[in-house]
Structures are given as structure tokens and as C-alpha cells.
């Protein structure tokens, strides 16, 4: 009975790829080959990686050894959106990003330090979303992600902007923002827009060839909300400000009243998708090629701040946020 059912299934669904080290290697290499959008931008010769690593794959290797080879495969991409996430054997996620592999945990920012030493009345809307008014009537908004649906932000930001509309300026803090949805970053930036400007052009993979992309799509800063805040805005960034936080920075930086303060951002702008291997592991692929308003890619580079200043681990451990203090002092 099960044999008949199995045969029927195969006929109706088609053949699946058997779980072998060779097939897992081929599947991941091909997945990046057909979907990764930045071989040119990042100057990576993907074929040569296949040639170098393929001889190291054999049917007798264990998962730990396979993990080693697959990790090496994506290391040259050095992309925050390219990583391997095993789902067995207790193997950890492997980041192709050198920065994330090296730093592991952010140490130059803590929202707890902001709350404890600068803004005890900080209001928590969500674990990733806070606001308040600093001494000197300076507004403060913190986003550590843009991950909720846009309707959530529309509802909450109306309240936040009304609460902060009489401040003399606002500090928008995205120093630990790992990203989210570009629709959210576009919407929030629109609350600070005085002038409609092009801030980003995106294209995404539309076929398996490395240069097969969709038509470029232009993103503009459109006014959002019941009013737009036009007084000075200071945007705080770090190397941990990534992905949709960076497209947010692109949008904000088109406005004359915005100054970016802190460190250069992460340098990973593209959309990312999850894919699976025949052994059930996940790997993540950047499928886009995102450019700034000038048509330049800042992948792997990040957005440099107007004013450079960073906290050390010791600053944060001692409850001091030099970057925030500097931003406050400018109002």
C-alpha cells in the first residue's frame, strides 16, 4: 500500500533531491548562482568557488564537515544577508559577514543606558520601538527594527509625532536597527519629509543568469502622516544599523534638516530570502541590487555619517552614551 502511495506521490509531485552531501553542496551553490543579486557589485567569481570546493565534497563526509565546506562557500560574499543556518546537530549559524563573525554582540549602544541615564521617562511602545522627550525639549525616537506591519507604525507614529511636535528637534536612533521592511522605512521617513526626492533604485533577480534583473524601481520620499516634522533631525547610526535601517538612512539623508551622526552603517541593503537544502538546513540569499539616489551601490561599504563619533564598550559599560550626548549638545 505504502509502495503504491509512494509511487503515486512521485508521479504527482515529481522527483525530490536526495539528501546527500553532494546534492546539498550542488543545491546551495546553484541557489546562490541563480538568485544572488550582487556577484558583480561584490566582485565575486562564483564559478571559481565551485571549482575550488567541489573536490572536497564526498558522500562519506559528516554534517560537521559539510558545514565547514558550505561556510567556506559563502565566506567570499562577506554579506550580512548571506548566511547558513543549520537545523540539526546543534550547529550554529554561519555569517558570511566578517563584521558579524568578528563582533558577535553589539557593544557600542544600549537602550538601557539611554533609559537609565538620559531619559527615565522613555516610553516603550514595543520591544523594538521607544520614544520620549529629553531634557531641553528634544524629542527622541528609537527603532531597533522595522519588522511590524505598516498599519502598526501608522497608528503608533501618529501618537508619537503628536507627542513630539512641539519639541525643538528630534533624535532618531537606529543604532541597533537590524532591518525589517522597506515599506516601513519609507513610511517613517515620510513623516520627516519637506521635499519629495528620489532616494533609492532597486532591482531584483528575475532569472538565473547573473545579470537577469527586474526593471529598476524608483523609491521616493513621499509625505506621510497628518503633518511632517520639519525641524532639525539627528539620525544616529552604527555599523549595526542594517538593511531596511539603511534604506531609511538613505531616505532621511535626502532631507536638508537631517544630519547623520555616529558610525558608518552596515552595508547590506538588499532584500533577502530563505532557501532550504535537501538536508533541511536553511541558507539566506540577497536577491536585489539596491542603489542610492546617485545610482551607486553602497553594498559592503555602508552609509558614512556626516559627523563621525562612536561609543566604546567601556563607555556603555560605564553608562555613558557619548554619541547621544553629542547629538543633544548640537540643539
Amino acid at each position: 500500500m505504502s509502495l503504491v502511495f509512494g509511487s503515486c506521490q512521485k508521479a504527482l509531485l515529481g522527483k525530490t533531491i536526495t539528501n546527500t552531501p553532494e546534492n546539498n553542496f550542488e543545491s546551495m551553490w546553484k541557489g546562490y548562482d541563480e538568485l544572488y543579486g550582487m556577484f558583480t557589485v561584490r566582485n565575486v567569481n562564483w564559478d571559481s568557488i565551485y571549482t575550488a570546493l567541489k573536490p572536497r565534497i564526498n558522500k562519506d563526509m559528516n554534517n560537521q564537515q559539510l558545514y565547514g565546506v558550505l561556510s567556506e562557500m559563502i565566506t567570499p560574499l562577506n554579506d550580512i544577508h548571506a548566511f547558513l543556518q543549520p537545523t540539526s546537530d546543534g550547529l550554529p549559524r554561519y555569517e558570511s559577514s566578517v563584521f558579524y563573525r568578528t563582533n558577535k554582540v553589539q557593544q557600542d549602544f544600549s537602550i538601557d543606558v539611554v533609559k537609565e541615564n538620559y531619559l527615565p521617562s522613555l516610553v516603550t511602545i514595543d520591544d523594538d520601538f521607544h520614544y520620549g522627550i529629553l531634557p531641553g525639549n528634544i524629542g527622541y525616537i528609537h527603532f531597533s527594527a522595522f519588522g511590524m506591519p505598516v498599519d502598526f507604525y501608522k497608528m503608533q507614529m501618529e501618537k508619537v509625532m503628536n507627542a513630539l511636535k512641539d519639541t525643538k528637534g528630534i533624535i532618531v536612533d537606529i543604532r541597533d536597527n537590524g532591518g525589517g521592511d522597506d515599506i516601513i522605512s519609507r513610511y517613517i521617513a515620510g513623516l520627516f519629509v519637506s521635499e519629495r526626492k528620489l532616494y533609492m533604485t532597486t532591482k531584483k533577480k528575475s532569472g538565473p543568469l547573473h545579470d537577469e534583473f527586474t526593471r529598476p524601481e524608483e523609491w521616493y520620499t513621499d509625505k506621510q502622516g497628518s503633518f511632517q516634522y520639519s525641524k532639525p533631525v539627528e539620525l544616529l547610526t552604527t555599523r549595526w544599523s542594517a538593511s531596511a535601517a539603511e534604506t531609511f538612512a538613505w531616505a532621511m539623508n535626502t532631507q536638508a534638516q537631517v544630519t547623520q551622526i555616529g558610525d558608518t552603517t552596515s552595508g547590506g541593503f538588499s532584500d533577502v530570502i530563505a532557501r532550504e537544502l535537501p538536508n533541511g538546513w536553511l541558507y539566506f540569499v540577497s536577491v536585489g541590487d539596491f542603489r542610492n539616489a546617485e545610482g551607486k551601490s553602497e553594498e559592503g561599504k555602508g552609509i558614512a555619517p556626516d559627523l563621525y563619533i562612536v561609543n566604546t564598550k567601556e563607555d556603555i559599560d560605564n553608562g555613558k552614551d557619548k554619541v547621544l550626548e553629542f547629538a543633544i549638545s548640537r540643539f
Partner: protein, 323 residues
């Protein structure tokens, strides 16, 4: 759309799983809300059509020499799927399913409306217990080792309106008992949606189709009723994710609208195959009430952007009210 990497605060990846789960929950909620919104919008826009259908139904239900049947069913459903756009893995489901139906039989025709849905676990075959490890780090820099199960959910629904003309009518006596048979052939309009909340967006497909339909009903000894229905889409508008498997709109459109705008294509039987079979037995307790079992099975194949093959079995316990 960016999938956040989860670096936040001092130990941001600690919150990775919770954030992802919450993100998914909100997504599903707002997706269903959006679908509901668009259905209501379509209903409002097409109110004349719907008023006409309601008038037809009302007229039909009061005419002489005609009969109506309202059915409700509940049961189980299994779906197997190989969606190469989302994953090389074969997926399967464990779903609970329901069905609501109305049939009107005239002298030479029949009209039917069916609404059905299913909801359940969605996971790759052989990987039901797959673990998502916390990608965060301990204060000493070592990897965290806690994990959670990473199964997703599948949401499946369909609606169908059909009108069929009588093809043949038969009457015979077997062992001194009456056997009445009726065959109908006609067309229907239907919409079917599969949506999953798993990481790889496997199995996202919507099809609005114009179908050819065959229906046969036999009543033996007035109490035992057998029926079979075969439905095959002839033309369809099929919506799938684009090649890059993401959704985002530069002009502020919502994800549902963008999904339908960017991913919809005209299809026909040559490139979109969907064969549906519905077979049932009903025992009439009296002239009005019946109970029975229904089997529904379907196979779907569509090749864009990458092939998806889907096979579904459903078994329902059904009750009917006939008047």
C-alpha cells in the same frame, strides 16, 4: 522586504525567535485582514452581480418541481506539495477542513455554490522536528544552543459558483428498488488560495479560474444517494511570487495588492493543470435530512516561475438539509 538579522540591544539575537514568530503572527493577521478587505471590496464593486445571483437563488428556491440542498461538512485534509520556487523539499500538511455548500436542482439544470477551507501544520516531509537554533551569543562569545521547532502553518480556501445543464436522466429498477440517475455538465467560476507562513514562502498560489464541470447523482431506493463531481479549469489567472520570491512596493501599496499586481498571469489548461474530484455518499434519514461521507482530491501543476506540484486529499463528514 528584509528579514531582520536580529541584532538589537546588547543581546539582540536572544529575541530572534520571538521576533520572527511575532512578525509571522502579525503578517498572517494583516494578510487575512487584507484578503478580507479585498473580498469585501470586490463584493461591493460587484454588488449588482451578487444581487442578481441572490435573486436567482431566491427565485429558484421557491419554484415548483425543484429542489434545494444545503450542506455542511467537517473533516481532515492532507496536502503534499513540491514547490521548487520555495524549496527543493517536499512539504506536507496535517489540516482540519470544512465545507459549506448549496445546490439547487431545476428541471433541466443545477446551480451550486461551494465554500471550503483548511488550516493546519505545514512542514517538510521527514523534518517535522526540525530545529531553529538561536543565532545569538552568550556573554563569553560562545554560540547559544537553545532552539525551537520551526514548523509553519498553511491556510487554504476556495469558493466556487457553478451552473450545469442536464445531460441525461435515467430510471431503472434493481431488485424491485428504484435507481434514479442524473448527469449534468456545465461551467463554474472559482477561486482557490494557498498561503503558508513558513520561512521559505513555499506554496503561495492563488488561482481564479473558469472551469468545465461534470456532475452525476444517483439515488437508490430513495435513501441512498451517490454523487460525483469533476472540475477542470480551462482558463485561469494564477498568482505566484515573482522569481526573486519577495514582495515590496516602492509606491506604498500593501503586500497583498503588490502580490496580486506583480505575480498574476493569465493561464490556460495547457500550462495550468488542476484536476478536482469530489465523490460522496449520503444516507437520507428522512425527506429533509441526510448524512454522509465525502472525498475530495485535487492535483495542481503550474510551471511559473518555477514548477509547483500539489496533491490534496480531503475526507469530510457531511450533513445536508434538503427542501
Amino acid at each position: 522586504m528584509h528579514l531582520r538579522n536580529g541584532w538589537a540591544n546588547n543581546f539582540p539575537q536572544l529575541r530572534f525567535n520571538i521576533v520572527i514568530l511575532r512578525f509571522i503572527a502579525y503578517r498572517v493577521f494583516y494578510f487575512l485582514l487584507s484578503v478580507q478587505f479585498y473580498i469585501i471590496k470586490i463584493l461591493v464593486m460587484k454588488r449588482k452581480l451578487f444581487l442578481a445571483i441572490i435573486c436567482l437563488l431566491s427565485l429558484a428556491s421557491v419554484s415548483d418541481a425543484q429542489s434545494n440542498s444545503i450542506q455542511a461538512g467537517f473533516g481532515f485534509q492532507r496536502t503534499w506539495m513540491l514547490d521548487q520556487q520555495g524549496s527543493p523539499l517536499k512539504y506536507q500538511t496535517k489540516e482540519k477542513a470544512f465545507s459549506l455548500g448549496y445546490q439547487h436542482f431545476g428541471e433541466n439544470s443545477m446551480f451550486d455554490v461551494d465554500l471550503s477551507g483548511g488550516l493546519g501544520d505545514f512542514f517538510p516531509t521527514g523534518f517535522f522536528n526540525r530545529q531553529l537554533y538561536d543565532p545569538g551569543f552568550n556573554p563569553d562569545g560562545s554560540h547559544k544552543t537553545d532552539s525551537s521547532l520551526m514548523n509553519g502553518k498553511i491556510y487554504n480556501g476556495s469558493i466556487e459558483l457553478g451552473y450545469l445543464r442536464s445531460l441525461s436522466h435515467g430510471y431503472s429498477v434493481i431488485d424491485k428498488k428504484d435507481l434514479v440517475s442524473n448527469s449534468y455538465v456545465g461551467a463554474s467560476l472559482s477561486n482557490q488560495l494557498f498561503y503558508t507562513d513558513n520561512f521559505t514562502r513555499t506554496g503561495w498560489i492563488n488561482s481564479s479560474s473558469f472551469n468545465g464541470e461534470y456532475y452525476h447523482r444517483s439515488t437508490f431506493n430513495e435513501r441512498n444517494r451517490f454523487e460525483i463531481k469533476i472540475l477542470i479549469p480551462l482558463f485561469a489567472r494564477v498568482t505566484r511570487l515573482p522569481y526573486h520570491n519577495t514582495i515590496s512596493s516602492s509606491n506604498g501599496d500593501g503586500n497583498v495588492k503588490t502580490f496580486f499586481k506583480e505575480g498574476s498571469r493569465f493561464a490556460w489548461f495547457g500550462n495550468f493543470q488542476n484536476i478536482q474530484l469530489d465523490a460522496g455518499y449520503q444516507y437520507m434519514i428522512n425527506n429533509n435530512f441526510g448524512v454522509g461521507m465525502h472525498y475530495f482530491g485535487q492535483w495542481v501543476h503550474y510551471a511559473r516561475e518555477k514548477p509547483i506540484n500539489l496533491f490534496q486529499n480531503q475526507l469530510l463528514l457531511k450533513a445536508s438539509f434538503n427542501y
